[in-house]
């Protein structure tokens, strides 16, 4: 459960987020909007990289304000990045281990947890391959494996679907759908691919100019005229 209350972010004079208020309870929630709408700003606030000027944000009832950036992963806030952040010199297993080092394991053997995470994303056989020898899709999967390890509460994915082939895209959808049942974490999915959002997210939040312009079940939101005008485009009359 993500609770955003009156959240405002200022970049100099520009309002990155403008008194945003939203409650996001669904296991998989989409976050869409035109460029500059504030999607990445919002997940940066959740990650801790950006400090809001006003307002608050809570995950599972806990206000994130007091939590230092490097402790958020242990709290359960994980993230995959647009520009993947896989370490070239470490194997896939070590890349996952690097995050597992810093998060609670509840006494379970670490090697087993890592193996399980890699299995989940389909990289079980590639555990010992160095990061630099993994292809782009496998690197995305390593990031997701990192995100699912060690009791996460919220996994934010920033445009995971960009530049994928058909079969990879299908595989990604399956994984996103299975995350909640696999590790109990909520997923917040930012992407421009409307088909991906429709296929995976029960509900979607649409941002424009730092505010929410629509929230609800995905099909309803995507059919909403306000959303169409702001983001999806309007069909020409008589064409």
């Amino acid at each position: 459960m993500i609770e955003i209350d009156d959240l405002t972010v200022l970049f100099g004079g520009v309002r990155g987020l403008n008194a945003l208020t939203a409650n996001l309870p669904e296991p998989i929630t989409g976050l869409v909007g035109p460029n500059g709408a504030g999607k990445t700003t919002l997940i940066n606030v959740l990650s801790g990289f950006i400090r809001p000027a006003n307002g608050s944000v809570s995950v599972d009832g806990k206000d994130l304000k007091g939590i230092p950036i490097h402790k958020r992963a242990a709290f359960g806030i994980r993230r995959t990045f647009q520009n993947e952040q896989v370490v070239e010199n470490l194997s896939a297993a070590d890349n996952v281990a690097a995050v597992l080092d810093n998060v609670p394991t509840d006494g379970q053997p670490r090697r087993a947890l890592i193996a399980r995470a890699l299995e989940f994303v389909g990289l079980g056989a590639r555990a010992d391959v160095l990061g630099r020898n993994l292809n782009a899709y496998e690197r995305r999967m390593v990031e997701i494996a990192r995100a699912t390890v060690g009791s996460p509460r919220l996994i934010m994915m920033d445009e995971p679907g960009a530049g994928l082939a058909q079969d990879e895209s299908e595989h990604l959808r399956q994984i996103i759908r299975n995350v909640h049942s696999y590790c109990g974490a909520q997923v917040l999915l930012v992407d421009h691919d409307v088909d991906l959002i429709s296929a995976t997210c029960a509900a979607t939040l649409v941002l424009d100019f730092g505010s929410s312009i629509a929230y609800g079940p995905t099909p309803d939101v995507l059919a909403d005229p306000k959303v169409r005008i702001a983001y999806l485009g309007v069909a020409e009359e008589g064409v």
């Binding site: 952040q85 370490v87 070239e88 194997s91 690097a98 080092d101």
Partner: protein, 343 residues
């Protein structure tokens, strides 16, 4: 710095034991065991110093290869470690091993206290503060000198200077050389344990990017502190080894320029390879000794090293060791022909 750490080294690759590398190391250690029989007294003492300097260079290379951190104070910290090792050894009659560890701990602490303000800032500030640290240590050491058997805080003797007591097992030069090699090997293992374990993974994440590290839960400053403490510890151990080898340390032998040279030669030798520190140790100690034999001015060595560093920075950041590694791989490929798959 691009993520080129440990290129050419088998340290952090797979979870399987690198049998080939272990065999090579065992072979090298065995060769070193028999080496003293072939050397004159003078060159044996030079190589003892080389062993100590290899550990010092290792301290520079750990910081640089793992985190891109430049410390220009490691030779100064070697002096600090040597000072404490001598003081404990003379003052308390402590066994050599204890003196060595005390020196290591003291150097780690001093390094940390002084370096801490800069560890939170951009890397350039660390280079600056360590340069100043080296200068400050130079002033202190030339003023106070090294303990040589006397009483009082400074331990300066009013009569004859006392040599440092060597370890029980290693009184003579050949035995001490083997002892020093063992200590150096243990230091390498210590670094290896770090690199392949939790600190190494955290350092790799930090190197990849601050954002990557923070999102992955890594406390950046804490791990930088850990690396700096490790480097200080190694430098201190090197100081103790040097003190034991030579018997006493000279207060005028720790100018700031030596720390710069140590850094320069570590880069020239190859900061990203296990062989780099060995090459650096040889260059730092054996090269000037060689020049001495040939009656060439030591300043020539300084100039050559400066040019070497410049060249390394402009063309070959992996240093001599890296280039040798490349050469070996090229030769290997040549002999394997074109049938093998691409690396």
């Amino acid at each position: 710095m691009t993520d080129r750490s440990l290129e050419g080294v088998s340290l952090a690759v797979s979870s399987r034991l690198p049998f080939r590398e272990i065999a090579l190391c065992a072979g090298a250690l065995a060769a070193l065991y028999f080496l003293p029989s072939f050397l004159t007294g003078y060159w044996l003492r030079v190589l003892i110093s080389v062993a100590a300097l290899v550990v010092a260079s290792l301290s520079v290379s750990v910081l640089f290869a793992q985190l891109g951190m430049v410390s220009l104070a490691q030779f100064g910290l070697l002096g600090v470690g040597g000072w404490f090792a001598l003081r404990i050894s003379h003052g308390m009659g402590a066994p050599f091993e204890l003196a060595l560890l005390t020196g290591g701990a003291a150097a780690a602490l001093v390094g940390l206290v002084v370096g801490l303000p800069a560890l939170r800032m951009r890397g350039l500030y660390l280079a600056i503060i360590t340069l100043m640290m080296a200068g400050a240590i130079q002033v202190l050491i030339s003023a106070f000198g090294f303990p040589d058997g006397g009483a009082g805080i400074l331990g300066k003797s009013t009569g004859a200077r006392v040599m440092m007591a060597r370890p029980f097992l290693a009184q003579g030069d050949p035995a001490y050389f083997r002892y020093a090699v063992v200590i150096a090997a243990l230091c390498y293992l210590l670094v290896l344990a770090h690199v392949r374990g939790r600190p190494g993974r955290a350092w790799a994440m930090i190197r990849r990017g601050e954002v990557c590290a923070l999102a992955g839960g890594v406390h950046i400053v804490a791990y930088k502190v850990w690396a700096f403490a490790l480097a200080g510890f190694l430098a201190g151990i090197a100081g103790g080894l040097l003190a034991g080898g030579v018997g006493q340390l000279d207060g005028s032998a720790f100018p700031a320029s030596q720390s710069i040279m140590l850094f320069a030669l570590t880069i020239v030798g190859g900061a990203y390879s296990s062989f780099g520190p060995i090459i650096a140790g040889l260059l730092l100690r054996a090269f000037p000794a060689l020049l001495n034999e040939l009656h060439v001015d030591g300043n020539i060595a300084t100039m050559v090293f400066g040019v070497g560093l410049l060249h390394a920075l402009m063309t070959a950041p992996q240093g001599i060791a890296g280039q040798l590694g490349d050469a070996f791989r090229a030769v290997g490929k040549f002999f394997k022909g074109n049938g093998g798959t691409a690396a």
